[in-house]
């Protein structure tokens, strides 16, 4: 009789364990709110017009206005270039990870999927990354650019927070789409001959 009671209690407890771990707790945890990072940035151009062989500077200050971000990315891309070479130099950089240089033809993530969906890069870019970034922490990424051709020199800038859990987890929220099908702000400088 005693043994029977112990077996019975054991099976009841085991049933409770499986119900809790497979059904109840998972749905409880899945109902908790996910973190929503809210990246944004301010970029300041030193000049809007330069003479060929002169340089200009783009100072970017980015911040995470939302929840803790596992990864905070600021990307600057150069649609007028085929390679970065010595046209672009990093002047200030305080992100936690080293900058990543992306060349034309590389496989890169798209549509804010963090690499789950991919595409091929059509122009070079530099990605600055902090892992992680707490709320309200500022990061800086300043570049000096010396164009080698006259004309309009465009720079695409965007910032993305991961986990990308909302439409505010990237900045800008709308506007021009780049080769990764992600929104960018465009900073243009006229290079006179």
């Amino acid at each position: 009789m005693n043994k029977f009671l112990i077996y019975l209690s054991g099976f009841v407890i085991l049933s409770l364990y499986f119900i809790l771990t497979i059904f109840i707790l998972p749905s409880e945890f899945l109902m908790t709110e996910q973190l929503i990072p809210k990246p944004s940035f301010q970029a300041v151009l030193s000049d809007s017009e330069i003479i060929l062989n002169d340089s200009f500077r783009l100072d970017i200050t980015s911040v995470n206005n939302g929840d803790y971000a596992d990864i905070h990315i600021v990307s600057v891309a150069f649609p007028e270039l085929i390679e970065i070479d010595d046209v672009v130099k990093i002047a200030t950089y305080d992100f936690t990870l080293s900058p990543s240089y992306i060349s034309v033809g590389e496989e890169i993530g798209s549509k804010y999927s963090g690499g789950v969906e991919t595409t091929i890069s059509q122009y070079p870019s530099i990605e600055a990354m902090s892992r992680p970034l707490k709320s309200d922490v500022e990061t800086h990424f300043d570049i000096v650019v010396t164009p080698k051709k006259s004309g309009i020199f465009n720079i695409y800038v965007k910032s993305i927070g991961i986990p990308h859990t909302s439409d505010v987890s990237h900045y800008p929220y709308s506007g021009i789409l780049d080769h990764q099908n992600e929104h960018v702000l465009v900073y243009s400088v006229t290079v006179n001959p």
């Binding site: 803790y68 596992d70 992680p132």
Partner: protein, 359 residues
């Protein structure tokens, strides 16, 4: 004044040498325990991208562990050398410890050369696999040494708890081998060592349940069916895993309550085996503990199943969301194979315990 006869001096030397061998085996096992704990903690730090230097706490733990294991193998050798006619009984343990420590210490320079040529490596790489294999062999050697000492000396119940120290490093280092062959953490700029997702799925689904069942039923047999030992070993595994893989990630801290529930099946299996030690009870215990492998290996096992079932980007704060999103689907696919592997773990533990205890 008493004088030692040749016979009693031989016995004294044998006892002393055997004890030195035991201390050596304990050191070897304890060292590997530190290496595995440090390794698991280090993986978590890498996933969280915590700033790392050579002098980080996980590295300190790992290198101290290697030094302790090395001391252990030297002590085992010294003890074994003076064992005279008992040498054969401990030779298997010593041989495995020596091969293990050779691989373990050789992996260091190999890792340095690899880093010099190919930069940072992932979880699975030739030096890392050499290291984990060395850890596994050292821990197996230590386990055999401790188990045989306890058997030959008819050790009392309390001494049998030493078996926990003998088996836990084997369980942890074998988990490391399975993880490196199934987790998608091994892609680098130079090499793509990530396992093929379907193969990784199969490895994880079969090997983890087998290992849990084998470890728990093996310690139960080695201890001559000691009540409580299975629960303590299971609980210790959960404690180590939670403190190295869950607590360091603040986003997962709340899930500790979920993880700690996994102690229940271990305790129930222990109680059922206390009441009834039949083959049926052993198979029930093996199947039960095998079936909960997805919960026991929370959270990292999720990465293997995510590759093939969801394909989501998993950043550290999303780990438990993806884990819980997958739990029911994973169990639908793996429950029956896991129970069967749990049964096989029971059968294998019977053969292995006979070999270890020279029955």
């Amino acid at each position: 004044m008493t004088t030692l006869t040749p016979k009693s001096s031989e016995t004294f030397l044998k006892n002393k040498s055997e004890f030195i061998f035991l201390i050596g085996s304990i050191f070897t096992s304890f060292g590997i325990l530190l290496v595995t704990v440090g390794g698991s903690w280090d993986i978590t730090n890498h996933l969280l991208s915590k700033p790392e230097s050579f002098f980080s706490p996980p590295h300190a733990l790992m290198y101290s562990g290697v030094a302790i294991s090395l001391t252990g193998v030297v002590l085992s050798f010294v003890g074994w050398k003076n064992l005279q006619k008992f040498k054969d009984s401990y030779f298997l343990s010593l041989k495995i410890q020596l091969i293990g420590i050779g691989l373990l210490t050789g992996a260091g320079p190999l890792d340095f050369i690899w880093h010099s040529y190919f930069g940072l490596d992932g979880l699975l790489s030739p030096p890392h696999f050499t290291l984990i294999t060395g850890m596994f062999l050292c821990s197996v050697g230590g386990m055999i040494g401790i188990s045989r000492y306890l058997k030959f000396n008819n050790s009392q119940s309390i001494a049998k708890y030493l078996l926990i120290l003998a088996v836990i490093p084997v369980w942890l280092s074998a988990s490391g081998i399975i993880s490196s062959l199934s987790l998608p953490f091994s892609s680098t700029d130079f090499f793509e060592f990530n396992p093929e997702p379907t193969i990784a799925f199969i490895i994880a689904s079969l090997a983890y349940p087998f290992l849990i069942s084998l470890s728990l039923t093996l310690i139960f047999r080695l201890s001559n069916y000691q009540f409580g030992i299975l629960s303590i070993l299971g609980g210790l595994f959960l404690l180590i895993y939670s403190s190295t893989a869950i607590i360091p990630n603040f986003a997962m801290f709340d899930t500790i309550q979920f993880y700690s529930l996994n102690l229940i099946p271990f305790v129930i299996a222990d109680i059922f085996l206390k009441i009834n030690r039949s083959k049926f009870s052993l198979f029930f215990a093996g199947g039960l503990v095998g079936s909960i492998f997805y919960m026991v290996y929370y959270p990292y096992v999720m990465y293997t199943y995510n590759e093939i079932l969801l394909g989501k980007l998993v950043s550290p704060s999303l780990i438990y969301f993806v884990y819980f999103e997958l739990i029911q689907t994973v169990l639908v696919y793996t429950l029956i194979p896991a129970i069967i592997m749990g049964f096989l773990g029971v059968l294998f533990s019977a053969k292995l315990s006979k070999k270890i205890l020279m029955n």
